[in-house]
Amino acid sequence: MSQATKLPKPGLLTTLKEFPGNVWSSIFRHSLPNSDLGRSQTSFTNFFLHIHPVKVNRNTLKPWYTLGLGLMSFFLFVILTVSGILLMFYYVPATTQAYDRMLDLRGSVAFGTFLRNMHRWGAHFMVAIVFLHMCRVFFTGSYKKPREFNWVVGVMLFLLTLFSSFTGYLLPWDQLAFWAITVGTAIAGYAPVVGQDMRFLLLGDYTVGQEALLRFYVLHIAVLPLLVTVLVSIHFWRIRKDGGLSRPADADAPPQPEIPKKENLAEWPRELEPVAVTASAAPAVNGVPALAVAAKTVAPVLPIEKKHYGIQGLVRGPFTKVGNVPENSVFSWPNLFMAELFVLVLTIAGVLVVSLLFNAPLEEPVNVLHPPNPAKAPWYFLGLQEQVSYSAFWGGVGVPGLEVLILLLAPYLDRSNKGVGKWFAKERLLPNTLFLIFVIVNIVLIIIGTFFRGPNWEFVSPW
């Protein structure tokens, strides 16, 4: 306080008058940008925006390329986290209370049914969307070098999504839940060597009961969300480090092969300017010393047309980097952020509409003596259940295990780097066909399990 003697002490009135503005500007270092320089600085100084690069390739923004599926999965995860935390205020993981709490949610809690609907349908959506996202990545060949490991992280995230749904399924403690978990953990028990131990660890007992309920609850609300959060962070970070979303090899090429020379700087498209400005006006950028310093140090070393990405130019790797010709990239603000906002609104709207129209099912309370006939698992496991009804080991462990293994190894087995960044590229006919067969077989199994199986798992026709 007393050290700042040189500056005139602002009066109380001024302090009060400037208070809101000061608080605001201490949080947001930049006002809404109206120049390209401002756009990059806004992205650079904001934690949430900084996850994004300042500029993205045009290909990234093509709606039909990504369909926004990855982002949708993430937003669904956020919706599930929020609605899940709210539900935790009313839930008790005890066999004697869980079901009653479900009834309470329905009867005496404001928005109780609605939140439960959101949580349940959000989970169903998430399983579907994460799967579709995986299909998108495969069909566009996006798992290829240098994105192999991110594909592996993605496959793990898919498995975690399934496991999160599965653990959540037991919590209402209704008939559906109880028998789905009985069947599900029995399938786990068929795994070689560790199967029975794994089942025992999951259930904390030899049968589904109080211990199992508590364990599934802890996995569902703490362990799995934490793992998902960590993996999602890695997943996103790797996207940045791998140079943004995948795109065709020619997406980075300039429309005109010639790189403009220094003299023609004035004729460059407007988008280019800010970076040149960043370099020359470095001392003026007070808020961003790092950027300023980087620009300063880079300036003498690199020729001027290579200065567009400041600090990133110092790092080697497959990044969006200095040599990247900017004609094909646009500023994240507003192009990318608008697209993301659109996906967010779409996702929320979808979940809200479905939650308003359809109520999440709640069956009879658990009756340990009488399984419903047939006892069906949630739809995304019905393909598995259908397989299991032929052979418990092969259907439940052998085939799914192999499928997961092949998925994990896919980028290391298929190493040609052709056809990246295009849907169903001609060069990728074989891998795409194989993957398509995998997808179709699983969908058909799910459809059979859902609609064509009746009491005693006998074949029935739904019409």
């Binding site: 069947v183 007992d205 299991v388 009804s389 418990a392 005693n456």
Partner: protein, 164 residues
């Protein structure tokens, strides 16, 4: 600068033996660190593996032999066993499906599972469906107080009866 230089000298003047010792120490400490990390990871598994379970007890009395007249096949739902009596022979057959653990019900031909349609004959042998194993038989004994006692912890071969 003044501090930096002698330190650099020291590194250069390390004898072969000193370098080996450093490498050895580095190696030992990494083994120690990773070792304890692995041990603590495993101890998590030990922690979450319950030492005692409080579910249904494995041994339980089911009443006097006279409660089961000859020819009965009674499924005791809560215990998940079926008591069969023929003449003076008694046995207890599990009613947990060996496929995926649903509860099966006695039927005319033996047992039937509602979940994936497994069928078992009177003795618990698989006659249809995906069940991979026959139904286990549990040890049955006569307790001192004259009650029948089932021990689900002990499996006995099919065809092992208790004579009363």
């Amino acid at each position: 600068m003044a501090v930096g230089k002698p330190a650099k000298h020291a590194v250069e003047e390390l004898t072969e033996g000193q370098q080996n010792r450093r490498r050895m120490l580095a190696w030992l400490s990494s083994v120690g660190l990773f070792g304890s990390a692995i041990i603590s990871a495993i101890s998590n598994l030990v922690f979450i593996k319950p030492r005692a379970t409080y579910g249904a007890p494995n041994r339980f009395g089911i009443g006097k032999p006279d409660d089961f007249p000859s020819g009965t096949r009674i499924a005791l739902g809560e215990h998940r066993v079926c008591i069969v009596r023929e003449g003076d022979k008694l046995c207890a057959i599990s009613t947990t499906c060996t496929h995926l653990g649903c509860i099966i019900a006695p039927s005319e031909t033996g047992f039937a599972c509602p979940c994936h349609g497994s069928r078992f004959d009177q003795d618990g042998n698989v006659t249809g469906g995906p069940a991979p194993k026959p139904l286990p038989w549990y040890a049955l004994s006569l307790a001192p107080n004259g009650e029948l006692e089932v021990d689900k912890g002990t499996e006995v071969g099919a065809g092992t009866y208790l004579k009363v």
